[in-house]
Assembly symmetry: C2
Homo-oligomer: 169 residues x 2
């Protein structure tokens, strides 16, 4: 198989966030998809090693912030390449608390969704969480970042825990 | 909830195809995403009403063609707005037969993947099928079509059976 065939699939760039007990956390994710229209449901794919995964399992809620093209690599570095086990990821970034009580990253975000987990599926290294969308709104007018923009324009990479991790060529 | 928040999520535009007994069929899908890197697995979301859904359940295999921006509305109309119960969708379009025996649409496709179903999840109106990627390659150099390009540039819409169906404003 030519792995490059997988690189032609399209994604956005998102922050998936949650809160369990007093711990707020969030991570960069690219696998966030609407899977039904009536009622609106969204699936997200998280690595079992990530703190956000553990907290989502506990809290049964998650929020999604849709990142804009104007988003900085610093923000992506903070949420995507550091662990909430070591730092408070929201310390230097704007957020609001959703109706479900979990944080929503608003820095460089064009929209957000609040979700309640309805079911989940173990797919090996990752879990697919399916959530009913309970709330959502637009935040600012800007182009949502695509995964190809992140790779081609920002020369971004992904951590090894990403579902779409690309081995170095 | 403001439904427009859902419209900011990013997708590609794909043909998901399969073969059961002697029937070849395929449909347009936008929810196709890689969910693990080791081994590479892909999830697709299909409406239970669609013939492709029934055939994928029977055959336990599916292929994905990643459509290019140059793809015509005629091709999208053929695979996305007609039913394989009424017509032979592959009649007027190029395809090859994959190693798994199912057709791969090659007209206006930049890449393809062949998948074997490993598990599935009932999410209401749709089923999420998880497939192990058994084969894949690039087909032509062109930009993969994004869902926002389809909406904004081609003024495309989706059938009511789409997981991301947008009600008329």
């Amino acid at each position: 198989m030519n792995e490059k065939a997988l690189y032609t699939l399209n994604y956005g760039v998102y922050i998936v966030s949650t809160k369990s007990k007093d711990k707020l956390n969030g991570q960069i994710a690219n696998v966030v998809f609407q899977i039904t229209a009536e009622p609106p449901k969204v699936a997200v794919c998280l690595n079992k090693k990530n703190l956000t995964h553990a907290l989502v399992v506990e809290s049964k809620i998650f929020n999604v912030s849709v990142l804009a093209e104007c988003c900085t690599m610093k923000l992506i570095g903070n949420f995507g390449f550091k662990s909430g086990r070591d730092i408070d990821k929201f310390k230097d970034y704007d957020y609001i608390i959703g109706k479900n009580g979990a944080p929503i990253a608003t820095d460089s975000a064009v929209a957000y969704l609040e979700c309640e987990i309805e079911s989940k599926m173990d797919v090996g290294s990752h879990t697919l969480f399916v959530g009913k969308v309970t709330e959502g709104n637009l935040l600012k007018e800007d182009a949502p970042m695509t995964y190809s923009y992140y790779h081609m324009e920002l020369k971004g990479r992904e951590p090894e825990t990403a579902p779409t991790y690309r081995k170095k060529q």
